[in-house]
């Protein structure tokens, strides 16, 4: 059977060259990078080399890179670290409604600690209007955090513009670029961001290594206190092999970015064009200003998890924002934010492509997907329409 992984936004397979780069740091060069003897210094150098490669990927200085263990950690670090460092100036934070949970739930935690948070709306494409950011900034505002690209609907924000506004108003700007760095060009010089989160496993690097870019001169309070690793800003014995892997993955991403984008974009367009031929299948997110390998839909009258299971039985691995497919049993707040009715959001399905995907894979997919849709619609009581049930809210069952 064909096995077609179409969930690159969840995580990427490790690039073989990345694994090769990491391998010696598990057993051979296992020393603690803080040590002053040779095995430790070897590890230290490897980390600093990786820092250079990671910095180069986003055109930053090496000392502006702080390694973390995940994108979620980088996001928590950015938001709490800036909040605590600047609470004497003010306690107001601005985020968008389509942030990742690692931003939204951190914002909610800060609300409990006495901070005020403004949640910015988005338009039907999931785009934040920079003018809304400008309007939301008050004297007490210390931080604006807006996601760079959405993993659920692929939409890319006007971060340069938002960053310009924040800078003009003297407010720190963070962008969660976990879904974008390594997949589209990100340059700190033009992005106008003071902090940027990104993760290696989103560009063929290992799990366990991510980073927060912190612009030189930006004060931040640590999330993880302890020793003097990462210049005292993030403690804990460094995960040397993972950091080395992130360095290698960054080097490859920088080298191959344009080629990768062309490859996935062409195949993604072919996938989207075919999917939209089926009745009542809608593209979610922005039609053009979106991640090049990202295709997301709602398919009316059927449910996402059921689609995923049937796709999986055909060897196609994908994701959904439906309530059933999330372990939290709630439909994606992102889909609700862009105005998709809750019952239609249940038909969410997300396909994300990577460099291993071939034209043949997409041909196979394009044959399979409509079959699965019609099979599930045959089972559905709504195959002929929603029958006016769409108004009722979901409360009782959970």
């Amino acid at each position: 059977m064909n096995k077609i992984y179409l969930d690159y936004v969840a995580t990427n397979p490790l690039h073989p060259e990345v694994f090769e780069a990491m391998a010696p740091y598990f057993k051979e060069h296992f020393g603690n990078p803080l040590s002053i003897y040779e095995p430790g210094m070897h590890a230290r150098e490897a980390i600093e080399n990786a820092r250079e490669c990671v910095a180069a990927l986003i055109n930053a200085k090496p000392k502006e890179i702080i390694f973390t263990a995940s994108g979620a950690e980088a996001n928590n670090f950015a938001v709490k670290g800036i909040a605590y460092a600047n609470q004497s100036k003010g306690k107001h934070i601005i985020v968008s409604k389509i942030e990742h949970h690692s931003i939204l739930n951190t914002a909610r935690f800060l609300e409990k600690q006495g901070f005020a948070v403004t949640y910015l709306p988005v338009d039907k494409y999931g785009t934040v209007n920079p003018a809304d950011v400008e309007k939301a900034i008050i004297k007490e505002t210390i931080l604006v955090s807006v996601i760079h690209a959405s993993p659920e609907i692929g939409t890319i924000q006007h971060v340069e513009e938002i960053g310009r506004i924040a800078k003009q108003k003297g407010v720190i700007f963070h962008t969660d670029a976990v879904a974008s760095v390594g997949n589209i060009p990100v340059d700190v010089q033009s992005l106008n961001a003071d902090l940027i989160s990104f993760a290696a496993h989103q560009f063929y690097g290992p799990k366990g290594a991510a980073a927060l870019y912190v612009k030189e001169g930006t004060r931040i309070v640590p999330l993880i206190y302890g020793g003097i690793q990462e210049g005292g800003r993030r403690a804990g014995t460094e995960n040397v092999p993972a950091i080395v892997g992130m360095g290698k993955a960054a080097e490859l991403a920088k080298r191959d970015l344009r080629k990768r984008i062309e490859h996935v974009k062409a195949l993604r367009d072919k996938l989207v064009n075919n999917a939209l031929k089926t009745d009542k299948v809608l593209l979610t997110g922005h039609p053009d200003k979106r991640l090049p390998g990202h295709a997301s839909f709602v398919v009316e009258y059927i449910e996402g998890e059921a689609m995923l299971l049937l796709l999986s039985a055909k060897g196609v691995y994908a994701a959904s924002g439906s309530a059933c497919s999330s372990k939290a049993l709630k439909a994606s707040p992102v889909l609700i934010s862009i105005g998709i009715p809750a019952h239609v959001a249940q038909g969410s399905v997300v396909f994300t492509l990577g460099e291993e995907i071939t034209d043949n894979d997409i041909n196979y997919f394009n044959e399979t997907f409509p079959q699965i849709i019609s099979r599930l619609r045959e089972i559905s009581p709504y195959a002929k329409g929603w029958e006016g049930t769409e108004g009722s809210a979901c409360t009782a069952q959970k």
Partner: protein, 122 residues
């Protein structure tokens, strides 16, 4: 995640479809939550002679629908009223805990169909 039995009933659901001449129809669930089951029964001499379903929902919901219609067929109405969430889950070799409450609506939909039939007899 799902047992082999769930996957079997999901992938090859039994008794799918509308039943234009049904004696009782029961609908349970809410599309906003992601699961709706519609169960049709034919009744003769207090026995369920046929059952069909239409379901909008996840894998568990479809498997439960398939299983509940299979179980109900041949039962008396009183027997069928004894089918519960638990007995359905058991017949499917278990359901993941988070699916027990939101997708396991088969018994409720069936009981509503029986009620509907009985109301029509009055």
């Amino acid at each position: 995640m799902y047992s082999a039995k769930v996957m079997d009933h999901f992938s090859n659901p039994r008794n799918v479809g509308e039943m234009p001449d049904a004696d009782g129809i029961g609908t349970e669930g809410n599309p906003v939550c992601g699961d709706v089951m519609k169960i049709y029964i034919k009744v003769k001499d207090n026995k369920i002679t046929d059952a069909k379903f239409q379901t909008f929902g996840c894998g568990a919901a479809i498997a439960v629908s398939s299983m509940v219609t299979e179980m109900a067929k041949g039962m008396t109405l009183d027997e069928a009223l004894k089918i519960t969430k638990a007995s359905l889950a058991e017949a499917l070799d278990g359901l993941p805990p988070q699916k027990m409450h939101c997708s396991n609506l088969g018994a409720d939909a069936l009981h509503k169909a029986i009620e509907d039939y009985r109301n029509k007899q009055k």
